[in-house]
Symmetry: C2
Subunit: 610 residues, 2 copies
């Protein structure tokens, strides 16, 4: 998917910059901010929202650009510095580090009194605008929300917004009628002393109305907004062309259906009524709050009311995810068995492996009478040093063979109608070094510490994160990413509000699905990550204990490479965990394997003490 | 120190309330807030600032009262609910939980439009005033900063402010000339783009000017303010009666000396010059920011510039604290040896034990050619169920004998000129139950996990806190306090900014001294806490590792009761830590013991495996 900088691209980059600057001049702007998002603050974008890629060439999943009249910069984080250097024309854009030198800081050093910096208020949140506005004011410059994105004026072959078909997510899979969910959210809106709430994020809308869509790769959501009054029928703003008659009829029972073009008018109407409208300032376009306020309404800042209920999976969703994980685990076992035989040939590379894994996922779903709707994100298939690039995405240029004496890291997942999966395994190709085994085993110790953690009701992911790192820290090692993220139920593979990270301050609650993925990365050499999904188990008093405690059930079922385990640094309890984990796999998913695969699994999952 | 409610007290409480309400009426106030602090936001107060105790009878170290015309309440946290119930007249004051129902929340439920709630701006910080002001505004009430505390008008026998003699803390102990410290702070004030900074907390003033005082029990500080200009000579506001001629001469070289009464005028002068003045909104009286702003100055909110430099102890201070800990450890060994023989008699109670311990501290200091200046806080001497009260303070009424089959918890410390100590030991009296041993050993596992922690540069105490709890959590247990607090160098036993707690977001830095004190409390039965002081060790690359890591050195030297250790739940590495820790004690402090004490130590510190 990534591109190389060619002479043609350079002409294109300069040409587009020149055109954009002309647009800005017409609007009396001295600069413009180009974030990587869409009108729903999505992580994965429809092609119509890939403005950053169109303007700069950079195709990563996070970043921004700022264009001034005499200079321009692209901002990417550490995951993407190598990719950005290959994709972005350096004669057009400087490359900056998104975290160390974010756009607001870069602007702060350049703003002059009288500057007018434009932004698209549909592509930035109120929280983001607030900070930029402070920077501009301090420099006696002005931050200007534009009407109509200037890039859209010059992007003549911009794709149309997506029109993926909407389906109804049945109660057999969602576990709760949409009507019931709406009622619960309305009660919480009333509790927040608001008259209505805005659902701006596509997965919140999908969860609330039990709908699924196909507008964005890997995320089965439909781009749509909803307005939920504390009392009365909600309004859903969605392109009618995405709806079959039957879907339309189902949704019309739940909500007034409107075209997206009517959304701003409805916000203004709420404002004119003097309504207090709840919205999440960190997840909602600034244009929405502005439309409400400009018409006389009041914005109540608070969490998206669907976020927490969506994160707490009900028993039906949990039963679904367990089925999905059996199916997905079987696909992983088949892949690992194939790889074990094939890798020795020296003819397997990252692309072949990733394609083969997708094939096993699709085929195993069919065997199970199910369907792989999509992969849940672009597979990370990293051989040798590529495994050390945390968000690596294979391209023809970077593709490497799996070589003997190296490690292969594969991070992948599936979207099934009953659940979303996300798993990482690190596999020894040939004989690993002692250092690789030491590092792998320390990562495994961290993984086991999280899998077996018990913690009081009210504890947050921030309180658990260090358990995953302590064994690495003892050896002077660490990893530069969080330990776990929330995962949706046939929804986004990255979902809030809880996470296992030093920033994860939201208390963990029963039913939340989180990843458990400590790692270790040696730049230029190899990468290690072991990832399973977990579900937070119900509160219970431990025998002999005196407080209700929570814990985790591991959902993911696939062998962890025993050849990479250094038994000498595992405790008896850790060995027992690994053996018990491996012992679960065959009985759970053996029926989806053929004889040869079953035999392979028997040895791959044999007790490690033996 | 605590009082029982008697008929006389009840009359006094009602009488004082009546008088206060009359004062409030005269000032057109409908209510008044009485916090537990002084003009320096001190934790321990001089008698002249014990307004909360005078008005309500409550003598705990944290709390507040709010008095309205028709009701009044005292707010205390969970540590003090039992004590407050015994001390406060329930017919005068309702008792509320300081955390669950803080004064602002209690007021919020009672405020009526037009209410005028008074507060003393010298006794509340800007941060506290800001929140209360929001609550009042929302209720269309007014928060009124009073001039002159109305309690002082009716407290006719209020003690005079303290006049403890000031001494100079010599460079042999401080490790840095005051002139150098002042220069460092001035550089940081300039970095913060401020013209001057206010030092409002007594320990910041003491550290900066290398002075010590005797105004407050247990804290060798002098109540004083300082104004540090980014450039030029500082001003020190201190009662001249505390200064000998020689101390005055030394301080006059460093600062312009002023009487405290001149402080407000100096703030106003700064304001009139249009100065930008740095102060910590969480640690500085609101009156100070108001005086600057009212005169036209600008307040720059930021950390107290002395807080972080004070927390990073230099090599001289660390050498001093090591000496203090040898002396203090010898006193503890002598106490524990005495207790081991004496407790069997059944005639030892909490008061006798605490007195004896203070005696051993004073005597051992003399043996060492040193001096116990004070204990570093009121000793917590808790037998049996009293040990489960986290901040227990023995009174004649609550005093219990040490009974066979129970645990005895003693938390104490000393102020020596070369260092401040703080240690808790839990001792088996007679034969402990299996449950006691299990709990004690889990607390010990947490203590060892902190003592042996290694962590990357930049990690905070919040990232370590869970290591101290994991073994308790596994058994369904926990404790409701932080794991560690900062400790000063012959200064406050509780010092910021770092701590080991889920709220401790400040990165740990080499030289910081912190306590390591996990615990377990079974209400009505027993309490367990094991506390040593630690110092953060310098950053180093671990052999084979790839990042600079920090760790801890344990400063405190005294045996941990082996009779309470359940070997079966300790790992070999934990047993090795305990044995190695015990092996340090004799060689370090044996020279301060007599033969009998040395023999006792030999068996108490023998390897546990034996």
């Amino acid at each position: 998917m990534a591109r190389r900088t060619t002479r043609v691209d350079q002409i294109a980059a300069h040409d587009r910059l020149t055109q954009l600057r002309a647009e800005l001049s017409r609007d009396q702007l001295t600069g413009f901010i180009v974030p990587h998002t869409d009108e729903h603050q999505s992580e994965y974008l429809p092609p119509s929202a890939e403005r950053l890629a169109w303007l700069t060439g950079f195709t990563g999943s996070a970043g921004a650009a700022v264009v001034l009249q005499d200079e321009a910069a692209v901002f990417v984080d550490g995951r993407y510095t190598i990719q950005a250097a290959a994709e972005v024309d350096p004669s057009a854009f400087a490359l900056e580090h998104l975290i160390e030198m974010p756009p607001w800081k870069w602007l702060k050093a350049r703003l002059k009194p009288g500057d007018r910096i434009g932004y698209d208020p549909w592509l930035m949140t109120s929280a983001e605008v607030k900070r930029l506005d402070e920077v501009c004011r301090a420099a006696e410059a002005t931050l200007v929300g534009v009407t109509g994105n200037p890039i859209d004026h010059i992007w003549t072959d911009r794709p149309a917004p997506p029109l993926g078909a909407v389906t109804i997510h049945p109660t057999e899979l969602s576990g709760e009628e949409a009507q019931g969910k709406i009622g619960r959210l309305q009660a919480s809106i009333a509790d927040a002393k608001a008259d209505a709430a805005i659902l701006a994020q596509a997965d919140s809308v999908a969860w609330t109305f039990n709908l699924r869509g196909a507008d964005i790769a890997h995320n089965p959501v439909a781009l749509a907004y909803a307005v939920l009054p504390a009392d009365g029928k909600p309004s859903l703003f969605i392109d009618g062309r995405k709806l079959t008659n039957s879907v339309r009829a189902t949704l019309a029972d739940l909500a007034e259906l409107h075209e997206p073009a009517e959304f701003t008018g409805s916000l203004a109407a709420l404002g004119r009524e003097g309504a207090k409208v709840l919205l999440d300032p960190k997840g909602t376009a600034a244009a929405i709050a502005a439309a409400i306020r400009d018409a006389g309404g009041t914005v109540v800042e608070g969490a998206d009311p669907a976020e927490l209920p969506k994160a707490r999976k009900n028993d039906t969703e949990l039963a679904g995810t367990r089925r999905a994980h059996i199916r997905d685990g079987a696909a992983m076992v088949r892949f690992l068995a194939w790889l074990d035989g094939a890798a020795a040939s020296g003819e397997i590379d990252e692309v072949i492996a990733a394609d083969r894994l997708a094939g096993f996922r699709a085929d195993t779903a069919r065997r199970d009478g199910s369907e792989l709707v999509d992969v849940s994100f672009a597979t990370i298939s990293g051989a040798g040093p590529n495994g050390a690039i945390v968000h690596y995405r294979v391209t023809p240029k970077t593709n490497r063979p799996l070589e003997s004496g190296s490690l292969y890291l594969v991070d992948s997942g599936g979207q099934y109608r009953d659940g979303t999966t996300d798993i990482t395994r690190t596999i020894a190709v040939g004989v690993p070094t002692d250092e690789m085994r030491d590092r792998f085993t320390r990562v495994l110790k961290g993984h086991i510490a999280i899998a077996t953690a018990r913690f009081p009701v009210g504890a947050s992911g921030a309180q658990l994160d260090t358990l995953a790192r302590a064994a690495l820290w003892q050896a002077g090692l660490d990893y530069d990413h969080g330990t776990g993220h929330g995962v949706g139920s046939f929804l986004a593979v990255h979902e809030g509000p809880a996470r296992i990270s030093k920033l994860g301050t939201v208390p963990l609650e029963p039913g939340m699905i989180l990843s458990n993925e400590p790692g270790y990365y040696k730049a230029g050499a190899y990468g290690i990550r072991i990832e399973n999904l977990l579900v937070v188990t119900p509160a219970a008093i431990v025998t002999g204990g005196d407080r209700p405690m929570l814990g985790f059930e591991t959902l993911t079922l696939a062998p962890i490479d025993r050849r990479l385990v250094d038994l000498s640094i595992l405790s008896p309890a850790e060995i027992a965990w690994l053996d018990a984990y491996h012992a679960r796999i065959g009985p759970a998913l053996g029926h989806l394997l053929d004889d040869e695969e079953r035999q392979w699994l028997a040895q791959a999952a044999a007790p490690i003490g033996d």
